[in-house]
């Protein structure tokens, strides 16, 4: 019972936090740099997204030289793990550690793009 109450409370807080976010995503930011939405089924370029969606700013050009030592190296990370963390940080399900720094840019990234990014990261040595 207590667990249930806790869960309800947590859900309420999370929902509130999601509602209280400062600004809607700027539509201009949600599009690729060229302003065109990718064609359905087109293969997304993870390397390009890694730069365009600003991952590079903190995690480094090679995804293994982060700008601060307590930011993670991502090169070679399991795709499934990376994708899940991106989802959870965007939704607010993960809100610990440095994730607050990353949450602010996750409105730039769609579900398909997370998948492409995760695969790109996993492909790096």
């Amino acid at each position: 019972m207590r667990t249930l109450m806790l869960m309800v409370a947590l859900t309420a807080v999370t929902t509130w936090a999601a509602d209280a976010k400062p600004a809607p995503a700027r539509p201009a930011d949600a599009k690729p740099a060229d302003g065109k939405a990718p064609a359905a089924g087109a293969k997304l370029d993870g390397a390009k997204l890694y730069v365009e969606r600003t991952c590079v700013a903190c995690h480094g050009k090679d995804a293994k030289t982060p700008i601060l030592p307590d930011y993670p190296r991502l090169a070679g990370q399991s795709a499934a793990y990376a994708e899940k963390q991106m989802h959870d940080i965007k939704s607010g399900a993960r809100a610990n550690g440095n994730s607050a720094a990353m949450k602010g840019v996750m409105h730039l990234v769609t579900d398909e793009e997370m998948k492409a990014l995760a695969e790109y990261l996993a492909s790096l040595k």
Binding site: P22, A23, R26, A28, D29, A33, V51, E52, T54, C55, V56, A57, C58, I67, L68, P69, D70, Y71, N98, A100, A101, G104, V105, L108
Partner: protein
């Protein structure tokens, strides 16, 4: 109180990271709190960068490290954590970057990022690129509760430097205000009034020293609604 709290939250988000920084911490230069402080002293990498011609193409690449906070559009965040940069005067951008890198403007959040820019040429390049970005019109606005007071004070005290539409003055290093977020300007104006922004212009401090919080709220609210002439329809 709210402002202090907001600043604390922002700082807390990044402090653990900044403290763990492997590189040397930000230097500390003598600012407005020191008796010999001269605003905008023409020295250091700033004057070198100002002499160089910035290349927006190279600047676009250098901007990658800025984009996670200031966003690819340059629009920053309406919650006031990160300022709007798009369309800012390169002189202003170069001065602020150099001041942060040189320890004259304290910014532990930005310092690790700013310190990755390699030389005055890169400062000039990134400033040239940022100037090409379009000033947003959907910036964070104030509550609109006392715009008449804001207008009165702006026209009395601010307009001679920041201009009628918030255009600023590139040659004098006065920033564009049009399109800037209300909450960011609220934080900066308060810190400038209270002597906490150490690279501030003493002439401005003199002007706003007597402002109450209410005056600052009103004036900044008014400023958040300014638009560059070209942006008007």
């Amino acid at each position: 109180m709210i402002r202090t709290l907001q600043a604390l939250v922002v700082t807390a988000l990044f402090t653990s990271a900044s403290l763990a920084l492997a590189g040397p911490p930000a230097p500390k230069a003598k600012g407005i709190e020191s008796s010999g402080y001269k605003w905008n002293a023409q020295e250091g990498e700033k004057i070198e960068a100002l002499k160089l011609k910035g290349d927006p193409k190279r600047g676009e690449e250098a901007y990658e490290v800025c984009s996670a906070c200031h966003l690819p559009s340059g629009a920053g965040r309406p919650d006031g954590t990160f300022p709007q940069l798009a369309g800012q005067h390169p002189t202003v951008l170069i001065k602020q970057m150099a001041d942060i890198r040189g320890g004259l403007r304290d910014n532990p959040i930005m310092y690790p990022f700013a310190s990755t820019l390699v030389d005055p040429q890169e400062l000039a390049d990134v400033a040239a690129y940022i100037q090409t970005l379009k000033i947003p019109r959907d910036n964070g606005k104030g509550p609109g509760t006392d715009l008449a007071l804001g207008k009165k004070l702006y026209e009395r005290d601010c307009v001679s430097c920041h201009m009628k539409n918030g255009e600023g003055d590139a040659a004098k290093f006065y920033p564009v205000l049009a399109g800037q977020h209300y909450k960011y300007m609220l934080r900066q104006a308060t810190e400038i009034r209270d002597g906490k922004r150490r690279n501030a212009n003493p002439d401005m401090v003199k002007v706003i020293k007597t402002y109450s919080d209410k005056d600052i709220d009103a004036i900044v609210d008014y400023m958040s609604r300014l638009e560059m002439p070209a942006a008007k329809k």
